[in-house]
């Protein structure tokens, strides 16, 4: 029983830390329709900036804000490459991701930075889950608020129909850069919390972040799509927790941690193709009524 409780709390904590990252990925992937791979780099940037600041005795909450700002910078570069220099969205993200690898190493000075006895946001006299939940909820509510404002409408519209936003006299390029900054800022914030939670920053900790984010978004949407009053950000948040839960369950079933990335990819393939279920009618019939019924033409 105690084991199950530990497992649940652990899943919730990890799920909510990553949920902040998922909100960021949601902005680019869903709202802007921009597959931004730079988050793999900015997640580490957030962790690196926060860790270095903590090692130098800076207040942990200030370190989190600094990580967020560093993420804004990373997002700005991705946006600048795409909007101002005309590089395709996918390549802009890849370039920033690769470039950040070197920058992250520069910030950290070495590839792994342990935080032994330094003060972190978890040094407060409350349960870590409370701290994490507060960060995740505040991020979500602020994002919800932003998306309901006039500025938020412009960001949504830029992904939806850029021609219409242009016709309002608005530079859609600026909106894209703004959304990318915000997205990478949230991802870097998640990275800084992760580093404090696991008490180290590692230059490789960002690998696959974007895929993890997508998996969580798709998870949430697939499960809660029919709940019409639920906000997409809530779906993303719950999706992140459920994704963590399934990963945790897979580990408990004896899978090696090194297999997790493959498991994630398989989950995404299934979730994405489930939306195209009509292609599998033959398979469905086969499952339902056996070979005689299948008659795949």
């Amino acid at each position: 029983m105690a084991q199950l409780l530990d497992f649940s709390i652990n899943v919730l904590q990890m799920g909510l830390i990553f949920a902040i990252m998922v909100l960021g990925v949601y902005i680019t992937y869903r709202i802007l329709d921009f597959p931004d791979l730079s988050v793999d780099g900015s997640f580490v940037t957030g962790a690196a900036v926060a860790s270095v600041l903590l090692l130098n005795g800076v207040n942990p909450f200030v370190a989190c804000v600094a990580a967020f700002v560093a993420g804004l910078g990373a997002g700005f570069i991705t946006g600048f490459l795409h909007v101002k220099l005309g590089i395709t969205n996918l390549l802009s993200g890849i370039l920033v991701m690769i470039g950040l690898y070197s920058i992250n190493l520069r910030i950290m000075g070495k590839s792994n930075l342990p935080l032994f006895s330094n003060e972190t946001i978890f040094s407060l006299d409350v349960h870590p889950l409370v701290v994490i939940a507060a960060f995740a909820l505040v991020s979500k509510l602020l994002l919800d608020f932003l998306l309901s404002t006039k500025l938020g409408f412009l960001i949504i519209g830029t992904g939806d129909n850029p021609d219409m936003i242009t016709s309002l006299g608005i530079d859609t390029g600026k909106m894209k850069i703004l959304a990318l900054m915000l997205s990478n800022g949230l991802v870097a914030l998640a990275g800084s919390i992760m580093a404090q939670y696991q008490r180290f920053a590692d230059v490789g900790m960002g690998t696959g972040i974007v895929v993890m984010g997508l998996a969580s978004i798709i998870f949430g949407e697939t499960l809660f799509r029919r709940v019409s009053i639920m906000l997409p950000t809530t779906m993303a948040l719950l999706g992140s927790i459920l994704y963590r839960f399934s990963i945790g369950a897979a580990l408990n079933l004896g899978l090696s941690p090194t297999d997790l990335k493959l498991v994630t990819c398989v989950i995404i393939v299934f979730a994405l193709s489930a939306g195209n279920a009509h292609r599998f009618t033959g398979v469905k019939r086969l499952l339902k009524g056996g070979l005689a019924n299948a008659s795949i033409k």
Binding site: K150, I156, D163, M164, S167, L168, G169
Partner: protein, 264 residues
């Protein structure tokens, strides 16, 4: 009000497909003009609107709006000065947002888009009144997502939205071409009503000769990047299909035969 002087535009420069569309095109649009523009495919009608709206840049020449040079102004800046409705009904609205949200966005055009609430609840009755004049029941669907509307409903909404802030110049690019005849008639009547009421200077490209003759105070016929017929004043008011066709033939339009077919 709007002056196009000596515009040059070449597409696919330096290739075998090079097209010298405009070779010194000039046009003077007066304040309050409602110009209808007709012409065959490739005559340069839509390109003309694209040049004015900034979607494409002219190679040479100048575009003046109210005596200020807007020739190479970026598209989004020019958009502040004019409104445009496209042929494709999905281009004028945001599909994932509701009618209210779309109208709120459009209503705010020209003002700052800050951190105040996006959906403008105060203007709901104004929005409903504007929608009710179309007479297709959109006023009861304020909270419906635009992606669920038909092409005609979207086009009506686009037209209302683009003229809500009373632009100085309205560009209509075959905005009824993708609609069925009945809906097309509704949109045309709405266009006439709005343009007359608000006295917006308007340029309307159309394939429908009836509309071109019936509407506006000036008619342009374009062919291969040139304006070959320019009818205005009383002559435009008394214009009939027969007279227009005679003008085409006199202007030496090879497309006149196919244009005659358009009338049937």
């Amino acid at each position: 009000m709007l002056q196009l002087s000596n515009l040059y535009k070449t597409f696919n420069k330096g290739t075998v497909n090079e097209i010298n569309l405009y070779r010194g095109l000039s046009l003077n649009v007066n304040n309050g003009d409602f110009i209808t523009i007709i012409g065959g495919n490739g005559a340069g009608k839509s390109t003309l609107l694209n040049l004015i709206s900034g979607k494409i840049d002219p190679d040479e020449g100048a575009i003046l709006l109210n005596d200020s040079d807007i020739t190479h102004m970026p598209e989004f800046r020019k958009s502040k000065l004019m409104a445009r409705v496209f042929q494709d009904p999905s281009k004028g609205t945001c599909p994932s947002m509701t009618i209210l949200e779309n109208m709120s966005l459009a209503y705010n055009k020209g003002k700052a888009y800050g951190l105040s609430m996006g959906a403008n609840k105060k203007q709901v009755s104004l929005f409903q009144e504007l929608l009710s004049q179309i007479g297709i029941g959109l006023e009861d669907k304020l909270h419906t997502k635009v992606s669920l509307l038909s092409g005609g409903q979207r086009q009506a909404l686009s037209l209302i939205m683009s003229t809500m802030t009373s632009p100085e110049l309205l560009l209509l690019d075959e905005h009824t071409a993708a609609l069925d005849p009945k809906t097309s008639e509704i949109i045309i009547n709405l266009t006439e009503k709005i343009v007359t009421e608000k006295k917006i200077t308007t340029m309307m490209v159309t394939h429908n000769m009836h509309h071109a003759i019936r509407m506006g105070n000036r008619l342009l016929m374009m062919q291969r990047g040139r304006i070959v017929v320019d009818v205005h004043g009383p002559e435009k008011q008394d214009l009939t299909q027969a007279k227009l066709l005679a003008m085409f033939e006199k202007a030496g339009c090879e497309d006149a035969v196919s244009d005659r077919m358009l009338l049937d």
